[in-house]
């Protein structure tokens, strides 16, 4: 009855293999004992993880990226959540304009944003400082927070807010005691996506990090330009694991809210 029969599963499996293969290869390679890139590795070991953890340059870059990402999460989540709550209630023309502005970093080519902030920030003396990177990354992270929070807001029954108001809660109290708790899962998921966005970002970092604020992706990029050794595989594997963990958390948050919703529905 369904068209699935006509899409042989084999083709789908091959395409999925194409999607997964590079990540698997990087993962396997990171445990290679060889001094150069060869696949499959002649033997396995933690040689490249030791190289990574023993190199203060790599560790500094990692700490800086984590710090920058954390700051981006704080900024983008605060600004983005408040804005999302406001935007849905704006009259249509203003809402369309603000939504377009806030979501535009998703489609404006990365290089245009990167050289734009480079051009302006070099005048404010923000090039080569982690502050500059935080400020620019926040712009890239905000769309994820806003979309995630907006989705949560759209799922709230407006009757709940009306009920709170009719029960005597001021608009502020309604926001704080009813709306925010209800959208908390959306805020958390947005925060996780904001973290990943900043942690993985390369192009802005290339222009803004100078020599004083080298993030992990920037360090990887520099390394890749000159040599191809498996340290990068180890670093990549670690970032993949971190990303996967964060995605798993996001997934759990979503599933839990859905479960809660269903339980409420049943009762």
């Amino acid at each position: 009855m369904s068209a699935v029969r006509f899409v042989p599963s084999l083709i789908v499996a091959l395409i999925l293999l194409f999607l997964a293969l590079p990540i698997v290869v990087v993962f396997v390679l990171s445990f290679s004992s060889a001094a150069y890139l060869t696949f499959p590795p002649p033997a396995f070991g933690f040689r490249w993880y030791k190289a990574y953890f023993g190199d203060s340059d790599w560790l500094d870059a990692t700490w800086l990226s984590l710090w920058v990402a954390a700051a981006v999460v704080a900024l983008s989540t605060t600004l983005g959540t408040l804005a999302a709550i406001g935007i849905v209630r704006l009259p249509r023309p203003i809402r369309i304009f603000t939504t377009a502005l806030v979501l535009s970093p998703l489609v404006v080519p990365g290089i245009v944003i990167a050289i734009g902030v480079y051009y302006a920030f070099s005048r404010y003396g923000l090039v080569g400082s982690s502050m500059g990177i935080v400020l620019a990354h926040t712009c890239l992270a905000v769309p994820f927070v806003v979309t995630s929070v907006s989705a949560s807001l759209a799922a709230i029954d407006p009757k709940l807010e009306h009920a709170a108001l009719s029960l005597g809660a001021t608009p502020g109290a309604t926001l704080w005691q009813v709306t925010l708790p209800l959208i908390r899962p959306g805020v958390l998921v947005g925060a996780l996506f904001a973290f990943i966005t900043s942690f993985d970002e390369v192009i802005i970092a290339l222009f803004l990090s100078g020599s004083g604020a080298v993030t992990l992706p920037r360090r990887m990029w520099d390394d890749l330009r000159f040599q191809l050794n498996p340290t990068i595989a180890a670093v990549s594997t670690l970032t993949i694991i971190l990303t996967a963990l964060l995605l798993a958390i996001a997934h759990l948050i979503r599933r839990r809210t859905e479960q809660l919703k269903n339980e409420k529905g049943d009762a």
Partner: protein, 299 residues
């Protein structure tokens, strides 16, 4: 006039009444105040920087349209534009062909759907740099693909795969696949399942149902995916720079080179062009029925 210049917090009781009257007269005042910090932030750290940089295309060194007027006769620019457009086009088509079967499987399969979703989403969220690096490893002279082909006796000498246009295209397809799969799967999921039943009941074979009902109804997803992938492909920088051939210079790479040499006017001109094409395509996408929200839900 004096009233409107005072903020509500400056007033005591009488002011509170004033404030609530304002809120009644202008119901979007509170929402606007909530959105204001972000809008201000985006203006200062994103919109104004980008726009002021783009303005350099008009005022470097003096106000004129000279930079734009020079483009049609600029051989380097035309070549780069051609490479960028043709690569994006090829990548978009290849992505569509690989994405549709996966999207179909994703929307139909019940037991395997979560697994498929993981395989699609994990690379999606893995950094472009890491994925590009993976392709460097796979496509290298002694990379896995060459080694495998040699072990199978298909080739004797390693092929030159890395630093070719093909390498760029393969890596870009890999990176952009999820952007095509998700909107199509989304469109497929939104099709009322009773339509396929009705089609079948009215005498259409499974292939007939797919061709006449399922596929046409998934077109909004296909259109959204194609536009999104094409727009993203236009701006690619990291991947072509790392795995592409030495002559495969994309618009983004040319812009970065010009900025390195502080040719701001030229770089800004190219950026304006790139941005205009990207935003133009997104605007078209918004006008297509059923595509409007794709850019919100993607990624």
């Amino acid at each position: 006039m004096s009233d409107s210049s005072m903020t509500p917090s400056m007033r005591i009781l009488g002011g509170r009444r004033e404030w609530s009257r304002w809120r009644r007269d202008i119901p979007w005042l509170t929402p606007l105040l909530l959105a204001a910090p972000l809008l201000l932030y985006m203006a200062v750290f994103y919109a104004i920087p980008v726009v002021s940089m783009l303005l350099r295309s008009l005022n470097d060194p003096k106000w004129s349209l000279d930079h734009y007027a020079a483009l049609p006769s600029d051989v380097v620019f035309l070549k780069v534009l051609w490479i960028t457009l043709s690569t994006s086009f090829i990548v978009t088509l290849a992505t569509l062909m690989l994405a549709y079967p996966v999207a179909l499987a994703l929307s139909r399969a019940r037991s395997t759907a979560p697994l498929i979703l993981i395989v699609v989403l994990l690379p999606f969220w893995t950094s472009v740099l890491v994925r590009t690096y993976a392709w460097m490893v796979l496509l290298g002279r002694h990379g896995m693909i060459n080694e495998a082909l040699m072990a199978l006796g298909i080739i004797e000498q390693p092929l030159r795969l890395l630093n070719t246009t093909l390498a760029t295209e393969i890596a870009m397809v890999h990176i952009l696949l999820p952007y095509m799969i998700l909107p199509i799967a989304n469109a497929l999921r939104q099709i009322d399942p009773s339509l396929a039943l009705a089609s079948s009941g009215l005498g259409a074979t499974p292939w007939g149902t797919f061709r006449q009902v399922t596929f046409p109804l998934s077109m909004p997803g296909v259109a959204a995916g194609m536009l999104l992938v094409f727009v993203l492909a236009l701006g690619f920088y990291i991947t072509p720079a790392m795995v592409g051939g030495s002559r495969d210079i994309t618009l983004s790479m040319l812009i970065a080179q010009e900025v390195d040499q502080l040719h701001w006017g030229y770089a800004a001109t190219l950026s304006t062009l790139l941005l205009a094409v990207a935003l133009g395509l997104v605007a078209i996408a918004q006008l297509l029925p059923g595509v409007g929200n794709t850019f919100r839900t993607s990624k």
